[in-house]
Amino acid sequence: MSLRIVVTVKYVPDATGDRHFADDLTVDRDDVDGLLSELDEYAVEQALQISENSDDDVEVTVLIVGPEDAKDALRKALSMGADKAVHVEDDDLHGTDALGTSLVLAKAIEKAGYDLVISGMASTDGTMGVVPALLAERLGVPQVTLLSEVSVEDGTVRGRRDGDAASEQLEASLPAVVSVTDQSGEARYPSFKGIMAAKKKPVQAWDLSDLDLEAGQVGLEGAYTVVDSATERPARTAGTIVKDEGEGGKQLAEFLASQKFI
């Protein structure tokens, strides 16, 4: 038996940098360094653990839709231990929204071949948390999402989803789409050996025509959403800061009373 896992990973601007929008109101990618969205490291980690715990022959492919620089993120995932990578890159992808992204990802996943798709719970830039559900809908397979615990055995994926009202145990047959939370387990650091090995691993490059897609279906032109404006939030006016010299609690109570909270 063999198990083909495709892990979706996104290349995002570093959240600790000064993120901005470009003139066309898409994310300014020149201003801030990009990296592998941290929440997708958890997806790579779970794929590797499923692989390590399986008697089957497991192949882990990482898949990214993004610009040239997104290769850095693929390298990181490969050096963690993924077997190979697919990079979908095309100038016409600029400004693609969630529906478009899920279309491109679904086409690429089908072309790559899969039994299991693993995504992060959300990207750290758009933070929508909808792409895994969209992939399940497009691929016509079960969605087993937002898992804090996941296992695969005999063609069945099981996991725990911690929701607001309850914690649920879920189960579905493969093929399926899974997303994992940052509670699923710390992601490993690439070892020196892993980093060296990654340099030799295959990275396949596809453009829209490889996926039988046309420019009008994606990018700003194909988008179902329009951003009309993006304004930087005015810096908060400097607040009052006091040093506690025994009266800090009382002073704070006074402030809260002045704001009618007590």
Partner: protein, 320 residues
């Protein structure tokens, strides 16, 4: 007037507050028609009617509880087919966003998630989003199909607006996908008696500075003096001092209360992503250089073990 579908988040017929907020926003765009699914759906009609729902479409089936997400998408799609609404509004919970996304794809529409405000516009509803850890405010709209928009809790005031709230049975045929993901077990969360974190008007949070699960009693006492919900940073959650469901931040809950009090929290970007839209921000931290002080309306540089109990005592005294 155009109808606007509002997806009802309820627990056995008890409507959660974000849904009532959606009814306020829906009335800016058209006439709210609510969709209440599962056990107790019909019991929601009275309160939805008091808040502006002209109609409440209900459907109950065991599929809603036994399978993940898709049965609800099937039902909402049936409601869209029946009503031909001007927009569909869904609360921005994790599940709400997944339902909304699949619906949008099926009906050939775009989706906007995590709106913090909504207005009628010439080319359809305009959604305000607060992005990049609330450092930018964007205005967006959906350019194709019926706008599907998810809205964060605390984005609008709940307003009474009596309407008919007439219950009508929705007819739903489940798709082949509906039974794909089984819910094989469910452990309900125990109620703490405190307000729901995302809905609370005041949130009192503790971080690594609280230094131990037993010390969270100090944070809880302050919360109780204010009728507040309790939040925690990921550092406190990862240390096992407080449940993950109370985590505030990028991978926890995003909160937007009237007042947020951060105790022993440094203010890392991922924490700020979940609380920066709070109206008034207060922090207690012994490090005057902590980044959280860049956000505060009022900050106390001091030991939380001194400041927080003194604050709680003072509040309780003032309340008499």
């Amino acid at each position: 007037m155009a109808e606007v579908l509002v997806y009802v988040d309820h627990v056995d017929g008890a409507v959660r507050k974000p849904t009532l907020e959606l009814l306020t926003l829906a009335r800016r765009i058209g006439e709210p028609v609510a969709v209440a699914l599962g056990a107790g759906g019909a019991d929601t009609a009275a309160v939805l009617g008091e808040h502006g729902a002209v109609k409440v479409l209900t459907h109950d089936a065991s599929e809603y509880a036994d399978y993940l997400v898709v049965p609800k998408v099937d039902a909402l799609q049936a409601a869209v087919a029946e009503v031909s609404p001007a927009a569909v509004l869904v609360p921005s919970s994790a599940e709400g966003k997944e339902i909304a996304a699949r619906l949008a794809l099926r009906i050939g529409s775009g989706i906007i998630t995590d709106a913090v405000d909504l207005e009628a516009g010439d080319a359809g509803p305009v959604a305000t989003q607060s992005v990049f850890a609330a450092s930018f405010t964007t205005k967006s709209r959906i350019s194709k199909g019926t706008p599907v928009i998810t809205v964060k809790p605390n984005s609008a005031a709940v307003e009474a607006a009596p309407a008919a709230g007439a219950v009508e049975a929705l007819s739903v045929t489940f798709s082949a996908q509906a039974t794909g993901t089984k819910v094989t077990g469910r452990t309900p969360r125990e109620s703490t008696g405190r307000p729901e974190l995302t809905e609370a008007a005041i949130v009192v949070s503790g971080g690594r500075g609280v230094n131990g699960s037993e010390n969270f009693a100090i944070i809880e006492a302050l919360a109780d003096s204010l009728g507040a919900a309790v939040g925690a940073s990921r550092a406190a959650v990862d240390a096992g001092w407080y449940p993950h469901t109370n985590q505030v931040g990028q991978t926890g809950k995003s909160v937007s209360p009237q007042l947020y009090i951060a105790n022993g929290i440094s203010g890392a970007i991922q924490h700020r992503a979940g609380m920066q839209t709070s109206k008034t921000i207060v922090a207690v931290n012994k490090d005057a250089e902590a980044p959280i002080f860049d956000l505060v309306d009022y900050g106390v540089v001091g030991d939380l073990f001194d400041v927080v109990p003194a604050l709680t005592e003072e509040i309780n005294t003032r309340k008499g």
